[in-house]
Amino acid sequence: MMEQNKTKNTEEILGMANNLKWELGMGIHDKIVSSLYADAAQIARKTVSMDGDKPAFSLDRKIDKIVTSRWSGFPIMFVLLAVVFWVTISGANYPSGLLASLLVDTLHPILKSGADSFMPWWLSGLLIDGAYLAMAWVISVMLPPMAIFFPLFTLLEDLGYLPRVAFNMDSLFRKAGAHGKQALTMSMGFGCNAAGVIAARVIDSPRERLIAIITNNFSLCNGRWPTQILIATIFIGGMVSPFWAGLVSTGAVVGIAVLGIAFSLIVSWGLSRSVLKGEASTFSLELPPYRPPRVLQTLYTSLIDRTLFVLWRAVVFAVPAGMVIWLVSNIHIGGLSLAEHFIDWSNPFAVVFGLNGVILLAYIIAIPANEIVIPTILMLTVLVTGMSGVGEGSGVMFELDSITSTESILRAGGWTLLTGINLMLFSLLHNPCSTTIYTIYKETKSAKWTLIATLLPIVLGFVVCFFTAQLWYLFAWGFEF
């Protein structure tokens, strides 16, 4: 009885509300909001005085006139970003080498011999050669550049400069159906895609945020730069005379990065006009006043929030992957390891795309981090070709100091210029690493968008590699036969 009464009352009240809304007309909500603001503004005008910030404001205006000017706006932006990248790459070299020699060259043999003394060979192989080595690799390659890049980036953000970059770049991104702030998440993606995906939180429009998240993988992250540089030096720099080699291979790497930006804009355009067409979209961009950056606080937050956070996720994924890498090269069925079975089976398929089975397997098992793709490729190539005297046994990832010996391993694995070019393309266009995939899921809370963000780049990668390879075969036919 009570229940019935209650529902009747609710309906009556809702009906009354409806009648009143009809009488008041459509604009009532806006009128209420407007009058609230008008009252607030009037109170503020009476009670708040604003003389204090005048000088600072006029200085802001002068800086703004320079950094957003038609003539100097873009050059200043490119120079600043180039400086950030240069500092990151050159500054990370030394600590990366140091960490690698400590964790991989020194600590790994000690741990291995220690573990061998009381563990069966397979357990020490799985734990030390697999899990530990993958973790050591990820830390030594990933930590230094991120520890330099993120604080620098956060400093620019804290200074108030980054919103001006978004402001200047917005018209380009608007044409692609995206938000100017995507310029920032893209730049962040050059450091680490997972961090770039998190950074997309600054975009408050649902549609543009999804676009930024899905296309972030097209920014060549710092786990992929070393791969690009190595392969470009060996295969593309190797084509020309040594005098030009440096310039040509640098050009090739920059070309790949620019191609990535182009893909990210094209895909943004496509997404905003197809699957994301109906998502709510707004544009808002505040241009906060400039202020001296709080250096210590920035260092602390960017190291803890961004660097360690992302590194931790990467390590969590790298450890099981290291075990898998060790297992596939050490479990034998019918005299061949699982890795060799897969490589033999997938080779014919891979050749259609100008790649090889080793590359496909490496990209599948090294999904947690792009950093371990090259060590995995080298290890697998040695395993498959049965070379002796290089590497440290099956399942043990390694890298070589000398580029020439790396080249000789790859050439022995049957690599050509086409394999090199397609590896560079595939390294740009393939699924995000598992850390990024997990981050995308965390950020979007949607399996659908995570799936799209994962599959879209790899489908594009196969399409691009396929056409490159087939055109190559078509033209190479005339020369080689």
């Binding site: 009906g15 009809w22 459509m26 407007s34 100017g180 709510a280 707004t282 808002s284």
Partner: protein, 347 residues
């Protein structure tokens, strides 16, 4: 030689097929979606909706006008009507056709779903205003009343759709129709636009392009044969009677006509200050709330401050902060009283 050529051809075909299937609006998937639409039930429901619309506005309605409205032949319409009559939804009185009570409540349910969906598209999604009506025409046949009620409850049970039409209540109540076509307004009368008819489409698009929207004040200036001149929120417009009859107005007997025309924020040059008059009703939902959050409300003053290096977003100073607004948004914000101002004074 043959293998790469063959592979390339196959690859191109595969990419072509993918594009053909997934292409928005014209692709296979989109077409399949459209084919599913034109079933018998859809036609029946559309007919009921049309009959209701005629009764609501007090227009007589017969077979031919209904057939014309649904874009089918008169024979087909006659069959549909016979079917509706068998179902007890309509009755014939000579040439005229009326809805029975059951028919009316059926029609009201569809109208409710249609208008709730339009409101949802306008407020909660990024769908453009030209597409609201068409999308709602599809959804009204697919969404159940319960689902629509849930959506409405989440939006705070809105009372009007974005075109200004009242949304029937869950009980099937709807306020009486008070509007008159703009073409019937006499010289010197002041009224408010309450509705802009969204059919036929080309007229609606033309009227939107003129910047007319529900909520605007109109002031009839001159009525001549073939030409109606009026001021919409102070801006002079000229329409033919056909176009003017697509606009429904409600007279405002006591209102003072707005004399001064508005300009758009996009016209404000750097270092000029103006008063904000309002935001167009085409700017809705999230975007509108966001602008209002920044203080874009009537009465505040706004100063254009700096243009971005690429020219498009312009930084505006409002309530002591600088925000960037894109040109297509600035086009939807109305201002007046533009003054050239020295910046030091406005700060």
């Amino acid at each position: 030689m043959e293998q790469p050529v063959l592979a390339l051809v196959l690859g191109l075909v595969a990419v072509g097929i993918l594009i053909w299937v997934f292409w928005p609006k014209k692709g296979l998937l989109a077409r399949l979606g459209k084919v599913r639409m034109s079933s018998q039930r859809v036609l029946l429901e559309d007919t009921l909706k049309y009959l209701f619309d005629c009764e609501y506005k007090g227009i007589a309605c017969n077979l031919n006008s209904a057939a014309g409205n649904l874009n089918i032949s008169a024979d087909q319409m006659a069959k549909l009507m016979a079917h509706l009559k068998d179902m007890g939804l309509v009755v014939f009185e000579g040439h005229n056709i009326h809805l029975t009570d059951t028919g009316k409540s059926y029609a009201l349910r569809i109208v409710r779903v249609h208008r709730i969906w339009e409101r949802f598209l306008a407020d909660e999604t990024g769908v453009q205003h030209m597409d609201w009506h068409g999308e709602a025409d599809i959804q009204e046949h697919q969404l159940s009343l319960e689902e629509a009620n849930r959506i409405a409850a989440r939006m705070g049970n809105p009372a009007f759709d974005p075109h200004g039409d009242p949304i029937p209540s869950t009980e099937g109540e709807i306020p009486p129709f008070l509007g008159r076509p703009l073409s019937s307004l006499k010289e010197g009368e002041v009224a408010q636009i309450v509705h802009i008819e969204d059919e036929p489409h080309y007229i609606f698009e033309q009227l939107s392009a003129l910047g007319l929207y529900p909520g605007m004040q109109v002031y009839q200036l001159d009525v001549q044969q073939g030409k109606i001149t009026f001021a919409a929120d102070g801006n002079e417009c000229v329409l033919t009677p056909l176009f003017a009859s697509a606009i429904t107005v409600q007279p405002l007997p006591k209102a003072e006509p707005i004399q001064e025309g508005y300009q758009r924020l996009s016209e404000l040059q750097p270092d000029e200050t103006a008063n904000i008059v309002g935001i167009s009703s085409y700017c809705r939902g999230l975007q509108r709330r966001r602008l209002m959050d920044f203080g874009i409300v009537p009465g505040n003053s706004i100063t254009a401050e700096l243009r971005s290096a690429s020219g498009d977003p312009v930084g505006y100073r409002i309530l002591g902060t600088t925000i960037a607004i894109r040109k297509d948004q600035a086009n939807l914000i109305f201002i007046n009283n533009i003054k050239k101002e020295q910046h030091e004074q406005s700060a």
